[in-house]
Symmetry: C2
Subunit: 205 residues, 2 copies
DNA sequence: GTCTATAGGTGGATAGAC
DNA sequence: GTCTATCCACCTATAGAC
């Protein structure tokens, strides 16, 4: 039985997207995180939503448009999560734990970080997606470097290199731990690496 | 002008493979490392070698067979490189530098580690390739854990977790640093992370 | 071993009816 | 907004001549 993707809800869709577009992005996001951008097709999404491919093309005319929307939304949602950490947690150590938990929840959901996945496929992606990807990593690095600076000032963290360099090390370590852990279907592998990242920064040792 | 893939050389091909198969694997390996297993086709290889797709199927009947051969050869070559380190370098610190340099040379070649790339695509791979991939990571972990144990015994390294856990952390950090650095086309990003891995283990601090 | 030719399937994408 | 129908390019793979 066909389910309509039309936005029938009384409330406006979350962020300028119709509920149909949101439903499509939700499925596409999961597929992209588990199979990669080159690993899913319009047919896969259509089958899951029980609509036709043509209907998907109405909302996202090309796969590039879909892919761009995917990364944009992911980056925006991630930025929102970082803002939430900024507002809630006080201590740099708590903020860093919050950051690591963002990754942990992705892994717990049996997914790879969308942008880590796309980084692997980078050279095959449309330029517009490549640009979005860079924005994502730059944003992460900037935010993390800020937390690291504060932590060092307050004496909570201790590290030798620049905050920016250390931020890059942490991002790479988390993405890589996730990448490998997924081949073992073992979230604990990721958590062990995440714990290491946190402990390594602790000033008292 | 067509170049024949037939093995015309007087010397036997490197390891049970015909020189034709070797040439195919060389091209396929580079494509897999830069675009992913789902990001290249028989047509890509055929165009580069100036032969037909049918000719490739003679040497590797299916893409799965090609993919399996790819990971097998990569794992064997990597094992050989680890053996070479075992024989040449004495100090655990030197051995670890040698290990990191294996990754660095992949990155310097504008490639991603084949198995890191395939780890991203893991859920879309044939079972035979998934199994090979696990063997690769297990081998790395085992070898690295041995070096870490020796280094701790000799006083060269200092770390808190088990050697196996720390080995996993290091592998993940190197794979992830490579993954992200490739989006920036910046080998220095990788080298900075690699240097961090080495310094973090140094006992004198 | 390599070719031509082709099969059968799937990819992204569009026209036009409803 | 969603459908049916269709296009064309590309995919992996095979048959059979040379």
């Amino acid at each position: 039985m066909k389910k309509s993707l039309k936005n029938n809800s009384k409330v406006p869709a979350t962020s300028g997207q119709s509920s149909a577009a949101t439903a499509i992005l939700d499925v596409a996001e999961r597929l992209a995180q588990t199979r990669g951008y080159n690993g899913f097709s319009y047919a896969d999404i259509a089958a899951e939503l029980d609509v036709t491919k043509a209907s998907l093309h109405y909302h996202f005319p090309s796969k590039e448009a879909l892919g761009r929307a995917l990364v944009e939304r992911y980056r925006t949602a991630f930025a929102g999560a970082l803002d939430a950490i900024d507002r809630s947690a006080g201590e740099p150590a708590a903020m860093l734990r919050g950051y690591v938990d963002l990754y942990r929840s992705v892994m717990a959901n049996d997914r790879m970080c969308l942008c880590g996945m796309l980084a692997a496929e980078f050279s095959t992606l449309p330029a517009s997606m490549q640009a979005e990807l860079i924005r994502f990593f730059d944003m992460n690095e900037r935010w993390l470097a800020g937390v690291l600076e504060n932590g060092r000032r307050s004496g909570a963290f201790s590290y030798r290199e620049s905050a920016g360099d250390r931020a890059r090390v942490i991002i790479g370590a988390l993405e890589g731990a996730m990448l490998v852990a997924r081949s073992y279907r073992d979230a604990d592998r990721f958590s062990a690496a995440a714990a290491h990242v946190l402990e390594e920064l602790a000033a008292a040792r």
